[in-house]
Symmetry: C2
Amino acid sequence: MSSLQNVLDRIDHDLEPATDRLFDLLRIESISTDPAYRKHCADAAAWLVRDLKSIGFSAKSVKTPGHPMVVAKHHKAKGAPTVLFYGHYDVQPVDPLSLWDNPPFEPKIIKGKGGAKQIIGRGTADDKGQLMTFVEACRAWKTETGNLPLNVTILFEGEEESGSPSLIPFLKDYKNELKADVALVCDTGMWDEKTPSITTALRGLVGEEVTIHAADRDLHSGMYGSAARNPIHVLVEILAGLRDTNGKITLPGFYDGVPALPKSIKKQWSELKFSEKSFLGEIGLKIPAGEKGRSVLEMIWSRPTCEINGIYGGYTGEGFKTVIPAEASAKVSFRLVGQQNPKKVVSAFRKYVKESLPADCKASFTPEGASGAIQLDYRMPELQKAAGALKSEWGRPAVLAAMGGSIPVVGHFQSILKMQSLLVGFGLDDDRIHSPNEKYNLTSFHKGARSWARIMEALA
Amino acid sequence: MSSLQNVLDRIDHDLEPATDRLFDLLRIESISTDPAYRKHCADAAAWLVRDLKSIGFSAKSVKTPGHPMVVAKHHKAKGAPTVLFYGHYDVQPVDPLSLWDNPPFEPKIIKGKGGAKQIIGRGTADDKGQLMTFVEACRAWKTETGNLPLNVTILFEGEEESGSPSLIPFLKDYKNELKADVALVCDTGMWDEKTPSITTALRGLVGEEVTIHAADRDLHSGMYGSAARNPIHVLVEILAGLRDTNGKITLPGFYDGVPALPKSIKKQWSELKFSEKSFLGEIGLKIPAGEKGRSVLEMIWSRPTCEINGIYGGYTGEGFKTVIPAEASAKVSFRLVGQQNPKKVVSAFRKYVKESLPADCKASFTPEGASGAIQLDYRMPELQKAAGALKSEWGRPAVLAAMGGSIPVVGHFQSILKMQSLLVGFGLDDDRIHSPNEKYNLTSFHKGARSWARIMEALA
């Protein structure tokens, strides 16, 4: 235990240089979904390779058809287990830029709500700040003991925010190199700012961009209004029809494979002191949306969803233009649970859209990922060890929680690498990930690194 | 008649320099709806003032809170009637720029369908090419006879494409200066490329931009999906509800004041050899949209409409972002006929939107104009004279047609200046006004000027 204490002290002592390193990484505009930032993504990968080498990892940036993967190894703990740590260095786009109080790629520390120090900027919580908690834990172990307590392989992806097109072929090609006893994934959140959490269930995600095509050109609504089909009208009718008046999703077969919530889980969740009023009040809302008759926690943790994440068509600039556009588009996503089949959901969605079209209109689709839901094994020994380490750090037991978001890599680790994942993260509900003014509490960064230092020892 | 023949010959002879002048005007990027083009609008007004002065008009650019009005006078035809000619020098925005085959503000002449020469560029047909037909007719009269056959006042507006916010106060202030026996408005089209037309009925226009506000920030759909209201969902449901399954507009009271189509008009229209198949086929469509049981001609000439001209919300860039946005917006317009009251339509629309909102969402509205429909007097003597002049030029009688579009200035001339308007224009259905690759046939420009030269004499 004395070496662990030294490691923890080292993390405390080096918080400032650690924050500086994180800032360096945050300044790189690694937006993976936009081809204009291709070089920035490669720069972020190269930065990580350099940093991992400085700790003593053998590290490389591996080309893919998209953005590079960072693969690093430090296997010098004889007889100890091997872990594969996963994070992603790419970030979400930053629009609308006007809503940022501070430029998104100029990170700084501000005093937030209740005086808590917050690191603000794109990628602070999702996922650069999180992945660096593990890197800093490794650095401190190395500095204090000259080694790591575990054999560590690291995989940093650069396409997590853009549907991970290269991930599956990459995992297949590097199967042997990446094989480990367990995967550690740091892309999730805490229960609240004082209570750690291990995520044990994840929803799947289907993303589809749909475009409705009507006339072969934009038309003047004074000349063609009513007579010519307006693709925005067609689109809004189709999208409105995706949910019925009770908030249920109408696609035939959509709920196939959705498990009923066991009473025991329902009971556990009802004891969590989760307040719908404050969960919604925090974001300026009062009335739960979605399926009638289900609690907010049930909806965000256990139910499938259908959301329209973007819509555009016609004239969207300042002022007015009486145009009937040639086409209109929407980005639609579905979160999946249980045994819902992502391919069947894609088919049902496309079939519904096509069947709703007037005979002289067309629809085209761009797939943006399709992954099923994941249920992790509650009985994994690593989970119990990590829970103990987290309790030591935070002074409270870790909540074993379901999660609304989707981390498809966990499914691929299961199916391709035959490996379970341990999902531990230090994000908070108010981190505004994917939104303007994203932040990561300095405490999350600091105690996150300390938590990993403890988990590494617990797993050793 | 000999001086008219000289004037017509002059127009033929000077077609090339006339086209060069039009090109100069077309190169000025006078997009009125976008504040970034404010200076360009002023430049277009100044260009027109210079050109009119060169013909012998007293001309000035009059400041307004928006873009300037061009007012010019040539009152030297003793005993002859006075006409007020109206056109607008502002143009529509040009997006999406990628769909233009040629830069929108670099006009040139190309060979179009069937070998007809076309002037291509933004504003060629709407309305710079049209207004210059009248200016060129005046120039030819002046060159050949040293005078104009009528007393001519000219009003060129710079805000027609952005809801004409300064027009009503301006007409009130300049009432005496603008008073004339009849207004000549050149912003409409021909029946087809060989058949001239005088427009005798115009629909009104209500434009509203609506924004639905839900949460106070953008949210991550994995964390808040279903639980938090998605304003895009709210918006598409509201917009989808604007029309029923028969294409009827559902706003209560919307059809109040819509006249039944008289049998005589219905008969006249049915004799027009209008082909729905080719009207829709021309733009790549087959099935009439809008109200079931009504003909396409009835819909575009005599029925009110509701169109969504633009929609936007959430992530609209390349790739995908699983965001639930804080707000979503649409631009909606209604074309009005008969006695429909534009203010009542605005109220009914806003009431419907507000009543459709969940209690924790808000809607905000930006008005983009509200004008009623216009029916002109078939018995005006000027209409008969103009029809005769057009027949002489084109060799066929002019069709007296209703028009789907809206030219609110005609209503203001009626109500404020107590003056009827004669609507003669030379645009064609395939001019792609408001769209990429807008064009104006060289024949429209050339014979348009000749037509005005004849109409001026007919009215003298």
